[in-house]
Amino acid sequence: MSREVKRFEPSDNEVILGILNDSKGVLDKLYEAYFPMILQLVVMNNGNDDDAKDIFQESVIVLYNKVKKGDFVLNSKLKTFIYSVCRRLWLKRLSQKSRVTGNIVDFEEVLSVEDDIEQHEERDKQFDLMELALGRLGEPCKTIIEDFYMNSKSMQDICEKFGYTNADNAKNQKYKCLQRLKKLFFQA
């Protein structure tokens, strides 16, 4: 049944360095090299294309987080790591949908990735909270916060974009927004 998926694979070191340096090209390579494997895994186990996309992207997020935190020790192939994460995630989804429980048709060897997935889920919860809080914050606060803290724009740029008379006004506005965001975030 299983068909070996042969593709160009970037070297694992290249990928890790690329992630650490925020290289965009490396994400491309990662996606093209390993998505087919996950598509196969998911579709052969009662999933569809969209499920495969979700699962694969989650596994990339787990990988990025792990590498950026600096605790990624390359004691297995990157491919195996991604496969294992996806497999675990997909099993979880399947049991939630209560379609098939426990059994899955495997195509690769598998690592234990429970800890990584737990961390990932914890992070995901925080991100969901943040999204909720930002959504409740409303405009223009949301954009100001996003521009300043996420997109690292200068206060001057923000001042111009929103038409504040001077940078101090903008700064004041930003602090107010930040306070409200904190409140919303920690309340939830």
Partner: protein
Amino acid sequence: MDITEQIEAYLMNEMSDEESAAFEQSRAIDPSLDRKVVLHEQFMKQIKEYGEHRKLISDMNAIHARLDISAIREEVIPTSVKMKVLWKKYHSNVAVAASIAILAVLTTLLSTGSFNQATSIRSDYNALRREWSRDINTKVKRSQNEILQNINASSKSPSTPSLFSGTGFALNTDGYVITNYHVVKGADSVYIQDNDGISYKATTVYIHPSYDIAVLKVIDPSFKTLRSLPYSFKKSGSDLGVDVYTLGYPKDDLTYTRGYLSSMSGYAGDTIAYQVDISVNGGNSGGPLLDSKGNVVGIVNAKQDKTDGASFAIKSAYLLEAIQAMPKDSLGRKVILNTKNTLSSLSRGDQIKRIENYIYMVKVY
């Protein structure tokens, strides 16, 4: 400066060296400030990470949109699974469609009375072998008796009446007898009995079920070769309205009945047989159907119940065809059929006198 502003300025390295040194000092002596700094730093990091997270997802979505997913699918998923996936997706629809189709067909058949017709077709077709007993147990007992009789070999004629009987007639002078397949079907043993009441043991050497024809061979050593056959077999078809008669054993004595060919096709348009308006009964099966000149034009094999004057006879042409198809090794040698007819100028009574010794009762146990 507001405290949050200070903290942020400190964290983003916007303070001058003196300011930052002062801030660090006040942080060292004020634990609550220190906590605020830590919390703020954490929160900033959280916002930043959330930003990165969203960027990563949007980057990946862009890549995903660029990829040709269906091509990748083709490559990694075997076709059988694609079928399985399709089946999984649509099996309920297929099931519903199929049940509706079946229901529709059944309803149509029911409403047009197709089922009733089918059963009535079978029920009014009556193969004309004579049944002596319907009791299966007796049949078994009788065949057991028969076996014992054979072992003892004390008597050549069977000890008990046969279960089924029909009629047969000589195919040639060597002891080949023709009858209907349905007469000898499922037979344990077969005897033929001539007009004088003498039985001979016979075996079935050839059957042609679709033409309902069977050929028997007398294996009894007491059987004497016959004098040449008085009748011949008609190779061509007969005409509608031709007078015909048959001889057979619907009872224990040879019985004569006459009639005429009423249709060129048999039961339900069956072209193998003629329809004959003649009164025949169980036991007439396998009897010869002769025309006024003494040619065999067919073999009586059935009649239609609940319909007057509809009996059937297998056409002689098919009889000949079946005989031609006989494998040579089932015979001692090739069956030579009589072609000389010595009856044509005789009256009906004289014809029968000549024929009667060639007509046998076929008894099946």
